[in-house]
């Protein structure tokens, strides 16, 4: 029996590797996506264009403005002389924020009255707006603290010491790149293995397989193991790139990571085989894979946090293997997570894998067309 399964695996791998089109699916898009995602998918702000409207024009206000100019996050593009220019610049998306310093800024500071500074932010991208406000606020509070200290004003009773665990610089890349391991592994496994049954059905060779003495379990293993192999290799390459190229710290052990990978690829393979057992043509299989892929990525914590979703949808994401694998990859990479702490993510993947592989095997023979 192992002999037969092995023959099927060898055949499956040969078919994938010898066909130019599937070779392309394996190598081209993942590489491009790794690079594009790795660099383009970032929430970090950098060189945000701002304008400054300083009505005070004092040493103090210039000191405040200098803190903005000196920050790598902001890049002042214009120094305004009239309040009327503010709206136009923001409307036209020339700048994302305007820092407006009140005429009485220095006077109020010296009189221990609230010295007013206005931040006007473009809210069209709400996420960017929030981040800009965060950065700007911390620059201003640094300024306040410094001023109060040197001028003997009332000192705030306490200071806020913020530290970030696991990702001290709060780098988006550290968050996104491990996520790419999950996304690309899913895309490649789904496309290659998911289409394999549909392709054989279209070519008529699947009937031939069913007529040989192979049992369902043999076919399932023969179709599924290449998926594990291809997904595993693909994931390993991206993990390597994450560590060596993007310099994301790998704090945990490889064992918990690869156990998660194994369960995840098994689940994706099962879902892929299920889709392609149901599809009659490769085109239907492709569309089916696409219809599965889009929601599974959206509801996975990859770019949009699950914690912010309504409870009902949060419950729904429990059946999404991608969500659990993302937790495993990020946990192992950044938090050094262990077997024990990842247990709640292992078993749902195992359950999905078992259910989908079983259904796929059952569909091999039942599907009538």
């Amino acid at each position: 029996m192992w002999h037969q399964v092995l023959a099927l695996i060898v055949k499956e791998l040969l078919a994938v590797l010898k066909d130019r089109k599937s070779r392309m699916v394996l190598i081209g898009p993942p590489l491009i996506q790794l690079m594009v995602f790795g660099y383009a998918a970032t929430f970090d702000l950098d060189h945000v264009p701002i304008a400054v409207y300083d009505e005070d024009l004092s040493a103090e206000s210039r000191d405040l403005v200098a803190r903005f100019t000196g920050s790598p996050v902001f890049e002042p593009l214009a120094f305004l002389h009239s309040a009327r220019d503010i709206d136009g610049l923001i409307d036209q998306r020339k700048v994302a924020m305007v820092l407006s310093i009140d005429r009485r800024f220095t006077r109020d500071l010296l009189l221990h009255r609230p010295a007013r500074v206005q931040l006007i932010v473009d809210g069209r991208n709400s996420n960017t707006a929030l981040l800009i406000l965060g950065y700007a606020n911390s620059i201003i509070s640094d300024f306040s603290l410094g001023w109060a200290k040197s001028h003997g004003g009332p000192v705030p009773p306490a200071v806020l010491e913020i530290r970030a665990r696991y990702n001290p610089n709060l780098s988006s890349q550290w968050f996104i790149v491990p996520g790419i391991v999950a996304v690309l592994t899913q895309v490649v496994t789904l496309l290659v293995i998911g289409l394999s049954v549909a392709r054989e059905r279209e070519a008529g060779t699947f009937d031939q397989l069913l007529v040989t003495p192979m049992r369902q379990i043999d076919i399932l293993l023969g179709k599924g193991l290449p998926g594990l192999l291809i997904g595993g290799v693909e994931a390993s390459v991206i993990i390597l790139a994450a560590v060596l190229w993007f310099a994301v710290p790998l704090r945990g052990g490889l064992l918990p990571l690869y156990l998660g990978l194994f369960l995840f690829v098994a689940a994706v393979t099962g879902i892929g085989l299920m889709i392609s057992s149901l599809a009659v043509t490769q085109q239907q299989a492709l569309l089916g894979a696409f219809l599965f892929m889009v929601p599974s990525i959206t509801l996975s914590d990859f770019a949009t946090p699950i914690a912010n979703m309504p409870p009902l949808i949060q419950d729904l994401t429990q059946v999404n293997p991608m969500r659990h694998f993302l937790a495993v990859v990020r946990g192992v990479f950044l938090e050094g997570a262990t077997f024990q702490s990842l247990l709640p993510h292992y078993w749902p993947m195992a359950a999905v894998a078992a259910a989908s592989l079983f259904t796929a095997g059952w569909l091999f023979r039942r599907r009538v067309y």
């Binding site: 929430f43 945000v48 069209r124 996420n127 965060g134 606020n137 492709l286 949808i313």
Partner: protein, 373 residues
């Protein structure tokens, strides 16, 4: 001329009947968009709320209680008390809380004596974006508490600078308001490029295009008959998405319908041109679908400014975004919905779209022959 109109009419009728009878067209044109809109409208949000925060108070007293009370009242936080910092750290590692606020032993003493009282905040930084947003919320809560505390004691404001924040166009800073307009660009890409590429590839596969070519229909008529129905389908999908966005998801709409319609039409032409080009390269649905997803859908998702800010991308990647049609359309949509008809944004972006549409359609027209090779 009259013959030409007759042929066009015949082809158009055929195309509409096919759309009505083809389940895969309906799946791509209606099912997927509806699904995406619902997920993004009800599910996806970048706004943190009810963040579980562990609170450790080493020595409970009135002042500490006043601050933790402030946290509990905020819609952003859901505080959970811990006895020791060790326990809280464990909960952080287990993802039970996302952040810890730690009021150390001498909090009250030093806060009142004018010394710098230590207020430790520890955030799980794995999700860097959420972590930053949470940081911002904590900072704000802290500043507000200080102000209130000082006012209560009649003391001067503890921070000499008072910041007044104005968020234009989206005062509530709701991510849904900016995600949904971008999503509409995504949906139009799906119907425009993916669907068009698929249906033409299908005609190649079934050999019907071969039969059409030998009739008197000219290549211009054949192309036009493909463009028009999917143009209308795309505009229909657009209208439905806009109505849904405004009525169900309460996204504000400040611009004019005329601008929205005109720019959508130009974008759709660019997307359709892309679809035509893809189908002339790939003559089977499988390859056409793959190319369409890789060259239109994924870039529209990542490189258009839909979720990720283009300004923050590295220069090389920013350069690439200039050939992504969705990029210009997302900018227009976000402006038209949230800001209004800002011509300085709309005109250059619409011009870029028009140039892309002209190039894609031009190449598609020039490369189309009434021939199989």
């Amino acid at each position: 001329m009259r013959d030409s109109l007759g042929r066009l009419r015949g082809l158009l009728r055929k195309e509409f009947l096919q759309i009505l009878r083809d389940p895969s067209a309906i799946a791509v044109a209606f099912l997927l968009p509806a699904f995406l809109l619902l997920i993004f409208g009800f599910g996806v949000s970048l706004d943190a709320h009810d963040v579980p925060v562990g609170v450790v108070v080493d020595r409970p007293d009135a002042l500490a209680a006043s601050f933790t009370g402030k946290l509990a009242n905020s819609p952003y936080f859901q505080p959970r008390p811990f006895a020791t910092i060790g326990e809280a750290e464990k909960a952080l590692a287990a993802h039970e809380v996302t952040a810890i606020v730690w009021l150390r032993e001498d909090f009250t003493r030093r806060a009142l004596s004018g010394g710098e009282a230590p207020l430790g905040v520890i955030v799980n930084g794995t999700d860097a974006n959420s972590a930053r947003i949470i940081e911002g919320y904590v900072q704000q809560a802290w500043a507000n508490w200080l102000q209130a505390e000082a006012a209560e004691r009649g003391a001067p404001p503890p921070t000499p600078v008072a910041v007044q924040q104005t968020v234009r166009f989206n005062p509530a800073v709701s991510s849904r308001d900016y995600l949904i307009p971008g999503l509409i660009a995504m949906i139009m890409t799906l119907t425009g490029a993916l669907l068009t590429a698929l249906v033409i590839a299908r005609e190649w596969e079934r050999g019907t295009l071969e039969a059409l070519m030998v009739t008197r229909a000219t290549i211009r008529e054949i192309l036009l008959a493909k463009l028009l129905p999917y143009f209308l389908l795309g505009m229909g999908g657009m209208a439905a998405s806009v109505i849904l966005a405004v009525t169900v998801f309460d996204v504000p709409f400040h611009g004019s319908l005329a601008v929205l319609t005109a720019t959508s039409a130009v974008f759709l032409l660019a997307a359709l041109g892309m679809g035509l080009l893809i189908s002339s390269v790939a003559r089977n649905q499988f390859v056409a679908g793959q190319i369409a997803i890789i060259t239109t859908f994924l870039p529209a998702f990542i490189l258009s400014g839909f979720i990720f800010d283009i300004g923050s991308m590295p220069a090389a990647v920013r350069l690439i975004t200039h050939v992504v049609a969705a990029r210009y359309f997302v900018a227009i949509l976000q402006t038209v919905f949230l800001a209004g008809d800002v011509w300085a944004v709309i005109l250059p972006n619409a011009l870029a779209l028009a140039v892309m549409a002209a190039i894609f359609l031009g190449i598609a027209r020039l490369s189309a022959r009434k021939r199989l090779d």
